[in-house]
Amino acid sequence: MNRFAALLDRLAYEPRRNAKIRLMADYFRATPDPERGVALAALTGKLAFTNAKPGLIRTLIAERTDPVLFEMSYDYVGDLSETVALMWPAPPKAAPAANHPPFLSEIVEGLEVLPKRDLPGQLAQWLDGLDETGRWALLKLITGALRVGASARLAKTAVAALGDIPPDEVELVWPGLTMPYRELFAWVEGRAERPETLDPAPFRPVMLAHAVEDEGFGGLAAADFAAEWKWDGIRVQAVSGRSLEGERVTRLYSRTGEDLSAAFPDLVAALDFEGALDGELLVVREARVQSFNVLQQRLNRKTVTAKMLAEFPAHIRAYDLLTEGGEDLRPLPFRARRARLEALAARLIAGGHDRLDLSPMVPFASWEALAAARADPAGAGAGPDAAAVEGVMLKRWDTPYLPGRPKGPWWKWKRDPHTVDAVLMYAQRGHGKRSSYYSDYTFGVWTAGEDGDVLVPVGKAYFGFTDAELLEIDKFVRSATVNRFGPVREVLHAPDEGLVLEIAFEGLARSTRHKSGVAMRFPRVARLRWDKPPREADRLETLEALLRSEG
């Protein structure tokens, strides 16, 4: 456990993705089975403990420390698990040689089988056997607060790195595996065959598109490509199959393979076909696609209520068909897959299926014609659903479905984003590579205050700029600082002095968390407007008007 704790400790401080993978891979390489498999389960969020509540931890520490010193310490540290981990008195030196540092696997097994009344004593014994970091990790683990910034996908990528195996391959076999994943490690280390996938509804790594950049289509021929709308929902993969016992298993996955089924029981229940399809999850009311803001209201809920199911009915608009009735269609060209998808959708809809429809094709003869359609989706076939169109997707008619983001076959061409001219108000230092740069920016727009116009913050952006622009802003922040709050600097933002940033964003939503009452989607710095005095930046009224028009 101490070794695993040291890994968690290091991961919690490490901002770089590749470094996190290295750290995890190093741990998996150096740790034997079954310990590493249990660690993998912990890292991929497969462990859940319900018996250990903060109250129990408070009781344990109260029995062992002076209450005044505990309160002073808790007040200083600010985190219960951490305070207890640090204050926990070392057991008497003479005592237990039997008290070897517990293994993670021992702890996980113990927590599963222990009767509740034995938990305090056992937990105390484990804590006695661990060092400060070990105690911190154990307490975080059992209270379900293990946040070290490593996703399940990253942990699987680290496993793949043990051998020369693409992470997507691990993703493919993953659904059929259980803790402690012996067969998985054996396979990636080249000691055994690839584990069989027994899961009747496994996730298949998705195919992603590159963005069409400013340079446009260069030598690409319009006739080689199909176009369809890019819908502004959540990219999902719906998979349905039958288990060996003949039971139907249907799952809804996010594009990273996260299982979303529990959040969309209405949709899962309605999907009645054999196969795997790629599509967009949307809220559709009275045959009209709702905006992303509406979908988000359903996404943000922890539990699914009947009222929500009725008010926010979930649909899938199908893009692609990956398997059908046990046949893998991915090697087929898009043209063939599209024909199979159209046939399947027609059958399902004819059979009364009302939760699934087909994403329509956008006919075009030239890039100019497509540009016109992209500029006016309502007039180019999207009709009343145009507000939910994010742009157009281009797919080569002749390419198979390839996992990852291969360059060439698929392109996304988004509609021009909204933009607003805002004034830089605060800047914060970034992390990792950017720790010496002020790279996170809070910006505001003008609104009427008690004594004339004031700036109100409307968002935060930390990308969109080039490396050269980052240097310029960093230099400006350092020279125009008027106040410091820890790692944050307030910069000069007066009507005639300050920096105007052109902020691009995808949409607006009402927000009670922001003083301005609005929250932006994907805000980023589009341009630096050194030429523009802050007084000419936009006003909050402009955003409010946009909010009304977006519904």
């Binding site: 002073m72 540290v77 590579k433 600097r489």
Partner: protein, 362 residues
């Protein structure tokens, strides 16, 4: 006769009415005893300064040879008489030359310990508890959450990280006097034999440690070294340099920081540290309480840090204790805090201050 007639707090620092001198005064005074060379304890401009030879030398390095009107060196175990008060220096184990000052007067002994630690340190003489009536202690880490782990194990974390990321530079933040040289010695003990690169702010003091006979292995100034050569290297710099534009000259650096403050995660995270090493030159909670007990004192005075917790602890042991609410100390740590916010520390000694813009860029 009260202890306060021998030593009492005053706005300029601890003052001895009987001997007419100050201990670690924060402003210029006619006569001062200096416990150690850190800038919050050792200030310039005093009339006469009594300290260990090492402390006097370090002050001269930082402030120039004319940092005081006159100086007098006192070796560990040696005594001098000042206006009837006998002053004896004892090792404090904090940094090279650090001393506890024991004051004897009319049968009463007060020990002003300055900053101290009871943990092993290859770069200075070990702390020796002194029997006394009144013990004056710091409480920088005076909360029971501060238990410094084995320094060798913390050092191993850095060495292992270099092994795991051989293409990255590891920049280790460490106070320029004491911590930096202790980390060099610890790295050598851990078997790291490669050259250690140092920021310009560290070279003079490190040279002094070496001149005093400490073997710190190959130490090289980082200034002028090609970026590619620093892959897999450990570079030691004052804490404030860690967030400076200076760090942009290193290959994908891992930022480490050796400090007792690294025990608390929020503090490490707030400063953007990626590899916190809990290595401190101050006593931890167990060290403070054990040291106080070892002096056999009847009364405990607490100068700076988490005074309330240590005073509370003394109360539970039936030991009379009072906080002195001294101001102006622990700035060596506060400096680092201010530096994390990108701000030149107001009271910074030259040694730290020059770490700022531009120095030592490779």
């Amino acid at each position: 006769m009260r202890p306060e007639d021998l030593l009492c707090p005053s706005p300029k620092g601890l003052y001895s009415p009987a001997g007419d001198f100050y201990v670690d005064p924060v402003r210029a005074v006619p006569r001062a005893l200096i416990t150690h060379g850190h800038s919050d304890h050792a200030r310039r401009g005093h009339g006469q300064v009594l300290a260990t030879r090492e402390t006097l030398d370090l002050m001269a390095l930082r402030y120039g040879a004319n940092f005081a009107g006159a100086t007098q060196a006192l070796a560990y175990g040696e005594s001098v008489d000042i206006n009837g008060v006998r002053v004896t220096a004892h090792p404090a184990g904090h940094v090279l030359g650090s001393a506890q000052m024991a004051l004897d007067w009319r049968g009463l002994t007060i020990v002003a310990s300055g900053d101290y630690k009871d943990a092993a340190d290859p770069t200075c003489a070990p702390f020796a508890p002194v029997r006394c009536h009144v013990f004056i202690s710091e409480a920088t880490f005076g909360l029971p959450v501060f238990r410094h782990p084995d320094a060798a194990a913390e050092t191993a974390k850095l060495v292992n990280s270099v092994g795991l990321f051989p293409e990255r530079a590891h920049i280790l933040g460490a106070y320029s006097l004491g911590k930096a040289q202790r980390m060099m010695a610890l790295l050598r003990q851990a078997g790291h034999a490669a050259p250690l690169y140092v920021h310009g702010a560290l070279t003079e003091i490190t040279d002094y440690y070496e001149a005093k006979g400490m073997a710190l292995g190959p130490i090289r100034p980082v200034k002028g070294v090609a970026k590619a050569e620093l892959a897999g290297a450990i570079v030691i710099a004052p804490p404030m340099a860690l967030t400076d534009v200076w760090t942009r000259n290193f290959p994908d650096p891992v930022t480490a920081f050796a400090s007792g403050w690294m025990r608390v995660r929020a503090r490490a995270r707030q400063r953007g540290i990626e590899l916190p090493l809990v290595v401190s030159d101050h006593a931890d909670w167990d060290g403070l309480t054990a040291s106080v007990a070892a002096t056999g004192c009847e009364e405990l005075w607490v100068t700076h840090g988490a005074e309330d917790a240590l005073v509370h602890w003394a109360g539970t042991r039936g030991l009379r204790a009072r906080p002195l609410h001294m101001v102006g100390y622990a700035e060596e740590d506060e400096d680092a805090q201010a530096a994390a916010e990108g701000e030149p520390p107001p009271a910074a000694a030259e040694g730290e201050a020059e770490a700022g813009a531009g120095d030592g860029a490779p």
